[in-house]
Symmetry: C2
Subunit: 122 residues, 2 copies
DNA sequence: TTTTCATATGAATAATTGTTCATATGTTTA
DNA sequence: TAAACATATGAACAATTATTCATATGAAAA
């Protein structure tokens, strides 16, 4: 999102149900909120990050552990951990050379559960 | 995700905590589940779709209504509605020329709520 | 029938992004 | 000190994707 396209000329048809649209418009949250909401879910929208989050929900692990677990390179994992950290979904602590990552959000499990509920139902 | 890269040579460091990794590995769900989970959240990871979903949570609307509400072209909205339909998050009904869309998932609101909870806390 | 209108869709394009590769940083060990 | 090792990071590349534009489809109205 937030791509730089030339401004859209709204719709190219007449409004059909102005009452409904006005009612909904009045109840829409700030643009900023919806943007941030999308940003959060974007972080969840990658299977590598989902796997990392799921793993960290089971146990605290260092970068190397995660890379080995997921059969990926240390670099790829490190890059993704940075994304998760920026999103404040994980935190880390350093012990010598080793950096341990763990979940930093109690909602992760609940967000997973809602997603799973959707998958199972359909 | 699911990009076609040459297979990663797992990690390039030694495993540090084999016990933990084995424990976590045993508890990880099927790859397929985690992949689908990421797919669902990917759909939520775009502010246009978030806005459409939020709007439809308020009221059923036709394509033109949504385009007008969000100040976007009919085409852009139509493309996104197709994505939402494929994800089984919205359904539609036809009345003459007009196609009305509505939410097709009771979890949308709860997924939003969890996302919002995360945003507010951080 | 012809026109009009709402919606859908395919192709093209610009922007984004996940991984790789090479390398930097910083800590421990020899 | 130097070597080894865990992690981080920047650049490059391939793949994905959100929108635009042009046009197709299909239903209602003239």
């Amino acid at each position: 999102m937030a791509r730089k396209y030339t401004p859209a000329e709204s719709c190219d048809c007449e409004v059909i149900h102005e009452e409904v649209v006005n009612k909904v418009k009045a109840r829409m949250p700030e643009e900023e909120i919806l943007y941030e909401l999308a940003e959060v879910f974007k972080v969840f929208g990658d299977s590598t990050r989902i796997r990392i989050l799921w793993a960290l929900d089971e146990a605290e692990m260092c970068v190397c552990d995660i890379a080995y677990l997921l059969n990926m390179t240390q670099s790829a994992i490190s890059h993704q951990l940075r994304v998760l950290k920026q999103a404040k979904l994980v935190r880390n602590r350093k012990e010598g050379k080793v950096v341990y990552y763990s979940l930093d959000d109690e909602h992760v499990r609940m967000i997973f559960d809602q997603g799973l509920a959707h998958i199972k139902e359909k």
